[in-house]
């Protein structure tokens, strides 16, 4: 099988939430995601970054069909998951699994560790015998660094890092092809976070996994990802390889975001010019017209309010959505005043 085989393709995805009624009984609609198209190749780790309200978690849930998108297709090896009925989707869930942020909250406190990890096998692979299930659970527990004698313990007996290992074991037990990791290390202490990141890297190699890694932490995403998608208010603003994003970003938002990330190196931190963005992220209920980033962008011009910038494909499989990125490349800082 070729290394560049497309496992997942998302095409024109849109997701809105209706959130009650506004003035004069007008329905209030929050557009969480719009015009989202991308693909994921077998064996890669795709990082998805963005700040609150950018839609990164909603995107993960739409891919997994935990939320039904309003428009667009989610193609898994060519098959549109949005068209599957519950029973057909259940069969597919063997291949697509998820790891959540809060490890303790995502584990049933009344089930033993063994039962929690075996749960997906009962529903998704009912053909397995009890003995086969148990063997698999023990094998997976060992793979994620849990001692098999912990099999009869309950979640509250575990620390956050160990609970996340249980969450990872539950995701791995059906031997999925793709795992969506939604902020999997955000709730963990720094020393434990490093253990879990290394574990995910090892498991990816061992099980030939493909990962979608969603996080607000750009340092963590850089560490794990091959390619990175940057979201802002529900739209893709830039997508490229990790090195291209971190070394040679094109979109003003990506650039600003990167200078805002704290650097754990005092001398570099002192030298660096922080491109402090003005203001905060606008409400997704009433997003700015045209380019949604324009209200915080130093380079914004009249056109940015009138027209939504299309997502352009550049050389080297890069995507960028900005009217002025070429000018900014040529003129540098001067583009802010031209």
């Amino acid at each position: 099988m070729s290394a560049t085989e497309e496992l997942l393709r998302v095409d024109g995805l849109k997701k809105t939430f209706s959130i009650g009624v506004g003035l004069f009984s007008r329905p209030l609609v929050l557009t969480a995601l719009e015009d989202i198209s991308f693909s994921v190749r077998r064996g890669e780790t795709l990082g998805i970054v963005g700040e609150s309200g950018c839609g990164k978690s909603t995107l993960g849930r739409c891919i997994l069909q935990l939320l039904a998108p309003d428009e667009g297709r989610v193609l898994w090896l060519g098959q549109d998951l949005t068209q599957l009925d519950t029973e057909e989707m259940r069969k597919r869930r063997r291949d697509l699994q998820v790891i959540f942020q809060d490890p303790l909250a995502s584990l049933n406190p009344r089930m033993t560790v063994g039962d929690i990890i075996a749960d997906p096998l009962r529903t998704l692979m009912p053909e397995l015998t009890r003995q086969q299930r148990r063997e698999r659970v023990i094998r997976i527990m060992e793979a994620v660094g849990l001692l098999p004698e912990m099999i009869n313990r309950y979640p509250h007996e575990f620390s956050g890092g160990q609970a996340q290992r249980i969450g990872i074991a539950r995701a791995l037990v059906t031997e999925p092809k793709l795992i969506v990791c939604d902020e999997p290390v955000s709730a963990l202490d720094v020393s434990i976070q490093a253990q879990i990141l290394n574990l995910l890297t090892d498991l990816k190699d061992e099980f030939g996994l493909t990962l979608i890694f969603i996080s607000h932490n750009l340092s963590v995403v850089r560490h794990v990802s091959d390619r990175i998608m940057v979201l802002y208010l529900g739209r893709i603003v830039e997508m490229a390889s990790g090195d291209a994003i971190y070394g040679d970003a094109r979109h003003p938002y990506t650039k600003a975001l990167l200078t805002a990330v704290p650097i754990a190196d005092p001398q570099l931190a002192r030298q660096r010019q922080v491109d402090a963005l003005k203001g905060e992220i606008p409400s997704p209920i009433n997003p700015p017209s045209g380019c949604t980033f324009r209200t915080r962008c130093r380079y914004a011009r009249a056109i940015c309010a009138e027209l939504r910038p299309p997502l352009e494909t550049l050389a080297g499989e890069r995507l960028v959505a900005c009217h002025r990125w070429r000018e900014i490349e040529e003129l540098g800082e001067a583009a802010a005043n031209s």
Binding site: S191, L197, S219, R222, Y246, I263, A269, E280
Partner: protein
């Protein structure tokens, strides 16, 4: 310069299940005027409890002993009514989640003015004017309008600015900030750190920044205190500790941190888990996770000893810290 705060032999214990749990042990440090000190540690390191005890904000089952000298006034064990003369005026504290620190049923200006009315006996109208000025100082756009808002009408970043404005109203000598940017988005966090830098310069306020994020520390702190299991394990100026960490825990923390400015191939995590305060290991609390420990570390607790360059360190190991040579 005389320190604005001197902490001597600070201990914090909690009565839990009929026994006594130590959250902070034998803490000694001082804070100079205008200094920014980062207190770094993971959950259960005692970093928050140490400063809550200085502010007289421990939970009911908590007890503090030792000294926290604000000038020549000892804050530890002072009854609440006497503490109130200093809290908010000379020493202020802000927290991670500003929503839980603001009164949801009062307008922003009412809450801010109350501080000045109470501490400086200011007349209400004048207090509100000053409150609005301070809102402008901390970068709140349209401060007149925001002053009339209720906390829920503001974004997370704005609320944290309101908290900072409130804390600075009486121009305190010391501001303690407990994970003040942890709940904020990264672009807003950058604005907030910039604000802290300007404010410590402008007001000469000493800032204690309690955090788990070494990136935040690198950009803002003059000095660092690294805590583990309720004790300071290494202290010194920020550059010294970042570029030449000598305590294996400091070294491990730095090696566990992914970097944004360069691609790391593999992180070097600290093995094992932070200890529970109810079952602290004997000897050095870090020894079960330490690649460098030897027999002594299991029996005796290393004291915090001053070394060259103003560094203090609590560790018996004196060789170079290179993980690859020590870990089989």
């Amino acid at each position: 310069m005389a320190p604005v705060l001197t902490v001597e032999n600070l201990n914090v214990t909690f009565a839990l299940h009929g026994s006594e749990v130590r959250a902070v042990s034998d803490l000694n440090f001082s804070l100079a005027a205008g200094e920014t000190l980062a207190v770094v540690g993971e959950s259960g390191s005692g970093k928050s409890q140490a400063f809550l005890s200085i502010m007289g904000l421990l939970a009911r089952n908590g007890r503090a002993s030792g000294k926290a000298l604000l000038g020549d006034v000892d804050l530890v064990g002072m009854p609440a009514d006497r503490l109130d003369a200093y809290r908010g005026r000379d020493i202020a504290m802000i927290f991670q989640d500003p929503m839980t620190s603001l009164n949801p049923s009062l307008k922003v200006k009412t809450q801010l003015a109350e501080v000045l009315v109470r501490h400086q006996g200011m007349e209400k109208r004048q207090a509100q004017m000053q409150a609005i000025e301070m809102l402008e100082r901390v970068g709140i756009p349209e401060p007149q309008k925001r002053a009339n808002a209720y906390p829920h009408e503001l974004s997370g970043g704005m609320r944290q600015r309101v908290m900072i404005a409130m804390a600075l109203l009486c121009r305190p000598k010391i501001l303690i900030a407990d994970e003040p940017t942890t709940a904020l988005d990264v672009t807003v966090q950058a604005q907030m750190l910039e604000l802290f830098k300007n404010l410590t310069d402008d007001f000469g306020t000493a800032l204690v920044l309690i955090t788990h994020d070494l990136g935040v520390v690198a950009g803002i702190a003059d000095n660092m205190m690294v805590m583990y299991g309720g004790r300071a394990v290494e202290t010194g100026d920020t550059d010294t500790l970042f570029y030449d960490p000598r305590h294996p825990y400091t070294y491990g923390l730095l090696n566990s941190t992914p970097h944004v400015e360069r691609k790391t191939h593999r992180l070097n995590p600290i093995e094992g888990l932070p200890p529970s305060l109810e079952h602290l290991p004997k000897g050095c609390a870090f020894h079960p996770r330490c690649a460098f420990h030897f027999a002594d570390c299991l029996e005796r607790r290393p004291p915090l000893v001053e070394e060259e360059g103003g560094r203090r360190r609590a560790c018996f190991f004196h060789g170079p810290l290179h993980l690859s040579e020590h870990v089989a």
